[in-house]
Symmetry: C2
Subunit: 329 residues, 2 copies
DNA sequence: TAAAATTAAGCAAACGTTTGTTTAATTGGT
DNA sequence: ACCAATTAAACAAACGTTTGCTTAATTTTA
């Protein structure tokens, strides 16, 4: 139904080869008059290029695929904006596919949709692949890079914040304000990210002469619910004066749960959040946070795909931004 | 570099045709022994199908493209989940591309990435196309459907809430609670959506015997900033006791601005939000909202693509969910 | 003015699949 | 034991492009 290059060729009275060349703006191989005719014919027929066919023969593609793990968190929007802008600057297109957060089968399907078609590179946002799916990804000849997640295996290309430092600086922010009894909420205990944040947290405590207590840390999956649960576990009488939350969502969870427990933030409890998305400024009081540079992660991700020679594990800087949830004692 | 069907054929000692058939699980045309050999060879070579090539010959695709306008609002996540689930149930894949919210050129590029490759259908989330870009979309032979947006032109297929009803019910919620002086904040005055919400708002007022006042409506683009600006424009002494906000984000804007103005919600000012995303329950006090059924919009969208015979303008139901921002007078 | 150089356009192969048609081999029925 | 019917596999065309090579026509150069 749709017009092809051959239809144009017929209408303009030239060969498909010539049509291809003028439509691709090749510099030579045809005269101005032919160009006119071809352009006119293409317009008249409402021609749309079949990119799949073109990619098939050229064996290259200009699309970057982004795999994201969940629709929930919205820090991904900043990364995607970074990807989008940088990709556009290089004449690349971006498509996004959702993989389930845990379901390996959904993960596999998302990966396949991406691998089984010609893409220039794959960016994985905060995705933890099962070993089988990782093998699948590596089996494809496509360059890839993990974003906002790091691994113990140093060979996997990734761009993320230094999680140890994140944990350290979040904790230190509270220590500097005079807090001694500090909780760590809704950080998972399984992943690289969680373990390093925990280590950073404990180091900061020790460097300040505070001995970490086991019941100060309430692990969780970084979600709003996890934040609430962690805070509920602490209860109103834990003696904690500050909490580091694993994400903005988690921080809002501890914030709201604190309120339910009759605790006022920051008067009775100080909170430092991790991420620093726009959410921090939407809630009351505004969340003091260790802010990650998500936009740059995205930008660095596409650059990494373009020049795979670079070092594989990159780190983007963080900074703490002081808002309203830390009270200095 | 990547293994093709021919490589498998060579390794297994059969023809490419046979390989294609066993890999596609065709029922006949080959024996169990050959099937074994082919499977083994495919596995050994780490074969990945080239979907683009397959789509080229079959002239059909099983991917749905979703065009979203901005990374900001997160109501889209619910629609996308609806799309995703329904698509998966039909064996379809989903890819997402971002179009700029206003920039026609970005819009055009996003549209082209989608049109110029074989997709089964296109879903446009809350996208307002320029006339040229609309023509572009219609020129493609691909079925499409707009989601969460409606048009004056009744021929454009769309699935959305009844915006008049949204405006009406939001306003009525406040009227029922005894409010008489009610504002409408951060609803735009240009689009179909904005005009109909405004009309619904005014009808509700009139039906209750209240004469709408011009300075009760402060138009805006549904954003957090627009909410803040609208509330700032009202000021602390407007006499308004209730405000209908154009979106959850806008509602949070009026909420926070109210606080800055020294107004307590809902004691001094009641708020009804429009959308009903998870944001409503994250802020304090939790936002009473006219909630849209975004998940169903997404689901209905993919069904619409599959059966284009259906009526083109569909409406999904809304419901008001009472939370904590409406005070009964 | 003839040969060389340049320009303009067409030919045809290739990319990796799918699938209708053909051919070869095996089985079954009588 | 012969022919029909069935099964198994290969052949080859097609999908819509791109691009190296060839050919034809025109212009330049000496």
């Amino acid at each position: 139904m749709a017009a092809t290059i051959k239809d144009i060729a017929r209408l303009a009275g030239v060969s498909p080869a010539t049509v291809s060349r003028v439509l691709a703006n090749k510099t030579a191989f045809y005269g101005p008059a032919t160009a006119q005719k071809v352009q006119a014919a293409a317009l008249k027929l409402g021609y749309r290029k079949n990119t799949a066919a073109a990619e098939l023969v050229t064996q290259r593609s200009n699309v970057i695929a982004v795999v994201v793990n969940s629709v929930k968190t919205n820090f991904s929007s900043q990364i995607i904006t970074g990807i989008q802008d940088t990709a556009a600057a290089h004449g690349l297109n971006v498509i996004i596919v959702y993989a389930g957060i845990v379901d390996p089968e959904a993960q596999r399907k998302a990966l396949l949709t991406v691998i089984e078609r010609p893409v220039m590179g794959i960016l994985l946002l905060s995705i933890n692949l099962t070993p089988e799916n990782l093998a699948l990804l590596q089996g494809a000849q496509t360059p890839y890079c993990f974003l906002s997640i790091a691994f113990d295996d140093g060979d996997l290309p990734s761009i993320a914040s230094d999680d140890w430092q994140v944990g350290y600086e979040a904790t230190q922010t509270l220590l500097k304000a005079g807090h001694r009894k500090i909780g760590l909420a809704a950080v998972d205990s399984d992943s690289h990210t969680g373990r390093f944040r925990l280590a950073g947290y404990e180091s900061a405590l020790r460097d300040a002469g505070v001995t970490p207590q086991a019941d100060w840390v309430q692990p969780g999956v970084y979600s709003y619910a996890a934040g609430r649960e962690a805070m509920a576990a602490y209860g109103a009488t834990s003696g904690l004066t500050g909490v580091v939350a694993g994400s903005d969502m988690a921080a809002i969870g501890v914030l709201n749960q604190s309120r339910d427990l009759g605790l006022r933030v920051p008067n009775d409890l100080s909170i430092v959040s991790i991420d620093g998305t726009e959410m921090c400024e939407l809630v009351q009081p505004q969340l003091t946070s260790v802010s990650q540079n998500f936009y740059d992660m995205g930008a660095a991700g596409v650059r990494q795909l373009l020049e795979p020679d670079k070092q594989s594990q990159q780190v983007t800087p963080i900074r703490v931004v002081d808002r309203q949830t830390v009270r200095v004692l």
